[in-house]
Amino acid sequence: MALTRRALLGGTAAAAALGLAGCSGLTPGRDPGGTLSFWNLFGGGDGLRLTQMLDAYRAANRGVNLEAVTLAWGNPYYTKLSLATLGDKPPDVAVSHLTRAKTLISAGLLEELKPEDLARHGLDAANFTARPWEAGLVDGKAYAIPIDTHPFVMFYNTDICQKAGLLDTAGALLPLDTPEKFTEAMKKAKDVTKAYGGVVAIDNDVASPWRIYQSLYSQLGGETLADEGTKVVIDEARATQALSFLQGLTRDGLMPGSIDYQGAIATFANGQSGFYFQGEWEISTFQTAKLPFSMTSFPNIFGGGKYAVQADSHTLVIPKQPDQDQANLDRSLAFIRFLLDQSKTWAEGGHVPAWKPFLDSPEYKAMTPQSNYAAAADGAVYDPDGWYSGSGSNFEIVTSAAIGSVLAGRAAPAAAVAQMRSDLTSLAKTASPV
């Protein structure tokens, strides 16, 4: 095992060669020779549909070498996107959640999309639904092109609801727009299933508890953060009201108090609950399971005249390019436009299109159950602004932990509000890195 000088030098040379290869080879990024790189975070059903859309683009644009990269969802994706952009090796086009694009914009990592450039490709503001378009603006400037809105929705088992007498003569679900009606429906469904009325994922879930709570809390008009996330403004009374209502449902056995994401899907798919609450993307799961189900907007339990529901949007963005020229920009915008024109394929995955030409078409209105909850997009409430906020962020992790403990019956609503306030305050007090 004696280390000879020759071996050492050889090893060093090999290591140096590896290091150099790491710098120059394999780095994804822009290649001026006709390659369009596109990063996304879609797996499962969304991934399959995106592949169809990309194949259509390839077939229509033989001259462009489209290089699509799918990365792991959530923080790993945004970390890589940020680092690649900081290192001057960004993809030409990338997907971003609207709530995460906000942080990327304030970090200066996205290209501003000027109205005249957008207009050349027919991407005027008027062609998009107002809610996601306006939510994506920063100081009135556009950076992110929304392709959809994905609201938190209500799935229901049509057989169970039929037996429970919850459907009207046309087979549509009767409105559940008050706390009493909602609770009553859960009870009736429970009587049929002999297990649970509804189900929402709680255990080890860093988003679902936040989604259902935020829907109720914002129906009550509550806000969580203010001033770009530097202030916590939780309304004690409203938050407690929303949490007490949710805790009542699990306490009375109408919903399970301890169940994880896959468990919640299985409970609904096996007919052990009549209702399931989650983002609309789970549509493919239940279609594959051949379940008799339909979907509608999450009920307006506390909102009265004004509807609100937790939602986010997928957007297409152009990361800051080290040497963007007109031709590159136009190629990227044309690619974005091409994807928007295939909104039908995308809508099959449950997402509400943001592209008005398709949203307003009879073709979309004929799509069920997708069109049932299209109106939910107008009541979309996005996660509040803040560098630690957004889809799958620390903000959702911290709030979901507190809300989950209420749903599980481990904490009183007031204690959970206090926990949320203290955890969020320590994030809010931290100097923003962007």
Partner: protein, 312 residues
């Protein structure tokens, strides 16, 4: 390996002989020979480490130019008061506790066995060492398949013999031991080779002489092999503790620190704070705190080696 060999003449030089006179007029060539290494060292190790130390006192952001506002000891205070810092630190230490003893003991036992094999010794050496040359991503993928609930090899095998298998990577209690087993399989070969090298250095005459005196194999291992392996053992122990404290790849790839942060190591916390949350200043402060832990471990090793050298 090399440490034990080079340390030997130095120690004798200090203890027995007066130091030889320093050759004169060699300063310039020596500096010339050292320059390439020093340049790389300053550029890639000393420089960045110093820069990290400076950044740890500022609210440095990854996406803003410059150091940003001065934070004093604010970042350190935040880390020391935050459960988000202490729990990954404990996870790293827990991982070190789970992996270090088996990686030393098992490697030693296997090296002793492989050393005694008469035929096909190369096969055993190769078999135990081969996993070590695999990159971490490959190892992680292999073991993720083995651990997969429902259709993984381990669960299938356990079900066949009538046992129920836990969710190896999905259960917060099992995730860390599962990662430890993966690491054991992966890195055992390195310690194994170090021990094997140490065994080759034990003079054969000692064994011959002892067997003349009627010592059995057990007695030979206890009274000759283990004492002669003392230095190798210390070296392996320290390299192993440091390697275990540096754990990142397996966890990042196999569990992303989950479930529910149960396997997030300190280095992943540094990565999350610095690269995901853009808080490079704070991440540097956490690195510095972790550096102190590693420094403490190294100091203990240094003390042990000094004592060993005096004893010999």
């Amino acid at each position: 390996m090399t440490a034990s060999q080079t340390a030997l003449p130095t120690r004798q030089a200090i203890d027995d002989d007066p130091p030889p006179p320093r050759p004169r007029g060699q300063g310039l060539p020596a500096a010339g020979f050292l320059t390439p290494f020093l340049l790389l060292y300053v550029l890639f190790i000393a420089g960045p480490a110093l820069y990290g130390l400076v950044m740890s006192f500022f609210d440095t952001s990854m996406v803003k130019p410059g150091l940003s506002g001065f934070a004093g000891f604010g970042n350190y205070a935040e880390a020391l008061q935050s459960a988000d810092f202490w729990s990954p630190l404990w996870h790293t230490i827990w991982f070190t506790i789970l992996t270090t003893p088996p990686l030393i003991v098992l490697a030693l036992v296997l090296a002793l066995l492989a050393d005694r094999v008469k035929h096909g010794r190369w096969f055993f050496r190769l078999a135990f060492f081969v996993p070590y040359v695999l990159p971490s991503a490959v190892v992680a993928l292999i073991w993720m398949w083995l651990y997969t609930p429902g259709l993984g090899l381990i669960e299938t095998a356990l079900t066949k013999i009538g046992l129920t298998s836990p969710n190896w990577l999905g259960d917060p209690g099992w995730a860390m031991p599962s990662l430890a087993v993966t690491t054991l399989w992966w890195t055992l070969g390195f310690n194994f080779v170090l021990f094997l090298a140490g065994l080759q250095e034990v003079p054969r005459e000692l064994y011959e002489a002892s067997s003349m005196d009627g010592a059995g194999p057990w007695q030979q291992i206890r009274s000759i092999t283990l004492p002669m392996l003392g230095r190798t053992l210390t070296l392996v122990a320290v390299l192993q503790v440091i390697a275990s404290l540096k754990v990142f790849d397996q966890m990042y790839i196999m569990t992303s620190g989950g479930p529910n942060f149960a396997t997030r190591s300190v280095l992943q916390y540094v990565y999350d704070s610095g690269f995901t949350n853009f808080r490079i200043g704070y991440a540097s402060a956490v690195s510095m705190l972790f550096f102190l832990v590693v420094l403490a471990v190294s100091a203990v090793w240094f003390a042990i080696v000094r004592r060993q050298e005096k004893e010999v």
